[in-house]
């Protein structure tokens, strides 16, 4: 059930995050609001910080609502069968939301970066879409695992382990699938995965800052 929630939040959340990241620069650039904004006596990093905070706030609220909908749906469908794990599941929801937020913010930051670097709207959104498709729909498939595994003489499972290190939505999937209800305890045994997710997010955010501060964004 926790795995389902993680999948639900990250798969839909990554699309929403990608669109928000894309719109946060494109929308303002199109309406010439970005030009006005950068002439104001504010540091450029304040602009990006503000956007980041606002969008994190929105995504957190969105995830909270989605978690409530998902949980209510599951309770309605499955009923009393989830009674024994209900308490630990509800306690794990904030952790799931926080980790999902880290995961989708990688896509958000990537969309922001692409939109800053590529001025042409169609190219920037489709570049984001291609990267998203590759990371969620192509690379983590069994076919792709077979091919890469066959080439390097590795088993499909070994390739899956490698793949989960590349694709943000798959980094923590084993954690959510293998935990026996106690998510927080399981997370400690997979702390490398959590760290990797955070490192991805920080690196891409740092690149965003550098790009935004140094490039002509108008």
């Amino acid at each position: 059930m926790q795995g389902g929630l993680w999948y639900f939040l990250t798969m839909f959340g990554s699309i929403i995050a990608l669109i928000i990241g894309y719109l946060s620069i494109t929308g303002e650039r199109q309406a010439n609001a970005l030009n006005t904004l950068i002439t104001k006596p504010v540091y450029r990093d304040s602009v990006i910080n503000g956007k980041l905070l606002g969008d994190v706030g929105f995504l957190s609220f969105f995830f909270l609502v989605m978690s409530l909908i998902y949980t209510s749906g599951m309770i309605l469908v499955v009923g009393g069968a989830i009674g024994p794990i209900l308490e630990s599941y509800i306690l794990s929801i904030p952790v799931s939301i926080l980790l999902s937020l880290f995961c989708v913010m990688i896509f958000y930051s990537f969309a922001l970066l692409t939109t800053i670097l590529i001025k042409r709207q169609t190219v920037s959104l489709f570049t984001c879409a291609i990267v998203w498709l590759l990371l969620t729909e192509v690379i983590p498939t069994t076919d792709f695992g077979w091919y890469i595994g066959a080439l390097f003489g590795e088993s499909v499972n070994a390739v899956w382990d490698m793949v989960s290190m590349i694709c943000p939505t798959y980094i923590l999937l084993p954690v959510f699938r293998s935990n026996g209800g106690d998510l927080i305890h399981t997370l400690f045994s997979f702390n490398g995965s959590v760290l990797l997710l955070i490192v991805y997010f920080i690196v891409i955010l740092f690149v965003n800052y550098i790009t935004f501060l140094r490039s002509d964004i108008a």
Partner: protein, 274 residues
């Protein structure tokens, strides 16, 4: 020849084809398709010999070609979506369409020309993607292959994929014609595509008359044609004629959807303010 040269539809189609060939977005998607073809071929180089158990020629089509379905469909339809958005929404955004609208021609000719040019481009792109997929895999595969069967099945698959891409193109053009803002059109088109892929699986839960609703979902319809309940196009134990007879109605429906979407494009575009 003279008639062809004078026809505004052909002129627009020719121009559209040339413009699309210069689009960076199209080249990005083409590069991804080429890279995935090489990964596919390289993987099959090792896997196919392991799958051949009795020396039959089935494994090439039912294994390797069947596995190419996902990435060819995914990126060819993304290409169609990109072309559709570029030809209407982006041209409106950069003002090119205003110049075209000032020319002495009917709007339906403009839409027909763009649709024809983009479809021709898609035909070339889909053919090249499939040829590349087949050739790269054939080059690394030393086992038995029935070339005539391969050619017939891949041609049929290519035609169905092309029709699905043309339908996607029409839908993208419709979205571009309806939404005046490029960013909004892009987001709507991408969301439509993604949720279309997801919703397709839920049609399997519908039973009875309501299950015919799947005909309205382009992706579900397309998957139904390619993998028709156990007698899919890549199933070499079933003759191609049998497959075609069982899916001819769905193919007809796919063509009908393309015509309806094209007409809807003409109607929406006729209301476009110049």
């Amino acid at each position: 020849m003279n008639i062809l040269e004078r026809s505004p539809v052909i002129t627009i189609a020719n121009m559209e084809f040339t413009v699309l060939a210069r689009q960076p977005l199209i080249w990005i998607i083409c590069i991804v398709i080429v890279l995935l073809s090489f990964v596919h071929a390289a993987g099959n180089m090792v896997l196919l010999p392991q799958w051949i158990l009795d020396g039959s020629s089935e494994v090439f089509i039912s294994g390797a070609m069947n596995n190419s379905f996902w990435y060819t469909t995914l990126f060819c339809s993304l290409l169609a979506m990109g072309i559709g958005i570029t030809s209407i929404s982006e041209e409106r955004s950069n003002g090119n369409i205003r110049v075209l609208l000032s020319k002495p021609m009917y709007r339906r000719d403009l839409i027909a020309g763009k649709f024809l040019g983009a479809s021709a481009f898609l035909l070339v792109a889909v053919s090249m993607a499939l040829v590349l997929c087949v050739v790269t895999t054939l080059l690394v595969f030393n086992g038995p292959v029935s070339l005539s069967d391969l050619a017939v099945r891949m041609s049929c698959y290519g035609i169905v994929l092309f029709l699905y891409c043309v339908l996607t193109l029409g839908i993208a053009m419709l979205i571009g014609a309806y939404f005046k803002e490029l960013a909004l059109a892009l987001i709507f088109a991408f969301s439509y595509m993604y949720f279309g892929w997801i919703l397709c699986y839920y049609f399997d839960y519908f039973k009875g008359t309501i299950s015919s609703l799947k005909l309205l979902d382009p992706y579900r319809l397309y998957c139904g044609i390619v993998f028709e309940s156990g007698i899919g196009i890549f199933n070499v134990s079933i003759p191609v004629v049998t497959w075609f007879n069982s899916v001819s109605l769905e193919i007809g429906f796919l063509i009908l959807e393309i015509i309806v979407i094209f007409l809807a494009n003409c109607i929406v575009f006729n209301k476009e303010e110049s």
